[in-house]
């Protein structure tokens, strides 16, 4: 597995643990956590991140705003983002696509789906 640093963003500590454990099992051991969009932006200043996995509904700054903010910044406009959220209404998915999300998974997710979408996002 290539050296890859992943930023997992979710306001639920339980979900972050599950995502981190799922990533480790898939071979991605270098994972940084953030509790919301604002925290994620702060972590990006400190670490060189290769992929962001983010929830949508979060306090302070939600996932959609995080993605829009990143796409407006030169240094992060191409940073791959995978959204993992409970939101499954088509309009929301289209909104995420338009905001610049690279791929999208609805919770609850299976480990295989997460691994597959990560590989898709990194390949694309």
């Amino acid at each position: 597995m290539p050296d890859l640093k992943i930023l997992a963003v979710d306001d639920s500590p339980t979900m972050r643990r599950i995502i981190v454990n799922t990533l480790k099992r898939a071979g991605y051991t270098d994972v940084v956590e953030a509790s919301d969009g604002k925290d994620a932006l702060a972590k990006l200043k400190v670490d060189k991140i290769n992929l962001i996995i983010t929830d949508w509904n979060m306090p302070e700054m939600d996932g959609l705003t995080l993605v829009s903010t990143l796409r407006a910044m030169d240094e992060y406009k191409d940073l791959p983002v995978l959204m993992v959220t409970t939101r499954s209404v088509k309009e929301d998915i289209v909104q995420a696509l338009k905001a610049g999300v690279n791929n999208y998974i609805v919770k609850p997710f299976t480990p295989d789906t997460l691994k597959e979408k990560i590989e898709n996002v990194l390949a694309g």
Binding site: S12, R25, W56, R87, S88, Y104, P111, T113
Partner: protein
């Protein structure tokens, strides 16, 4: 033209009837105040209960995650040990030990997969929490409206002056459609959207 005295008697009767109606109405409104006040008190308690459930399921989930992490680490240690035994057995040509080691390795793999499935199922906690936040937000909205009704009934404020959508519960973060099983859009359709980049 009717007799003025008779007319005045009729008016008196109408006024008496009106006064009785008004008294009855006032009594009924007074009678409503207690249930309204009780409801207004119960809503914060219900909201606190929901918050408590969310906290406690989170605590239990973390405890389970701790155990699962320890379990999977132990499994890994066993697997590594068994691989060493297998190597030693191969060197000593001991087929039976190799076979036993293979069987044990398979068992630990299955055990590890089971533990991982349990961990994955704990995603329910995040979804349940959002559902409870949604319920709590609705209760807080009802609480605010009840307070406003009571203020109007006490004459503290006019009904017209009230903002009936003050945004109670809006500090809570949740997806109103969060559901463990009921997805609005299947993953295959989501994949098509992203592959075709259709909007």
């Amino acid at each position: 033209m009717s007799d003025p005295q008779e007319f005045s008697g009729q008016i008196e009767e109408v006024i008496r009837g009106l006064a009785e109606s008004i008294n009855t109405m006032a009594e009924r409104i007074k009678g409503l105040q207690n249930p309204l006040s009780e409801s207004q008190e119960k809503v914060p308690r219900a909201t606190k209960q929901l918050d408590k459930i969310a906290e406690q399921t989170e605590a239990v989930t973390h405890h389970m995650l701790d155990t699962i992490e320890q379990l999977t680490q132990r499994e890994q240690d066993i697997r590594n040990g068994l691989r060493q035994i297998k190597t030693m057995a191969a060197d000593g040509n001991c087929e039976k030990v190799q076979t036993m080691a293979d069987a044990l390795i398979e068992k630990t793999d299955r055990s590890s997969n089971d533990a991982f499935s349990i961990m994955n199922a704990l995603q329910f906690q995040d979804i349940t929490c959002q559902q409870m936040n949604h319920a709590a937000a609705m209760l807080e909205d009802i609480e605010t409206k009840l307070l406003q009704i009571i203020s109007v009934m006490h004459g503290e404020v006019e009904a017209d002056a009230i903002d009936w959508n003050p945004g109670a519960g809006k500090d809570r973060v949740f997806d109103p459609h969060a559901d463990m099983v009921g997805r609005k859009t299947p993953q295959e359709d989501i994949d098509s959207l992203f592959e075709g980049k259709e909007a």
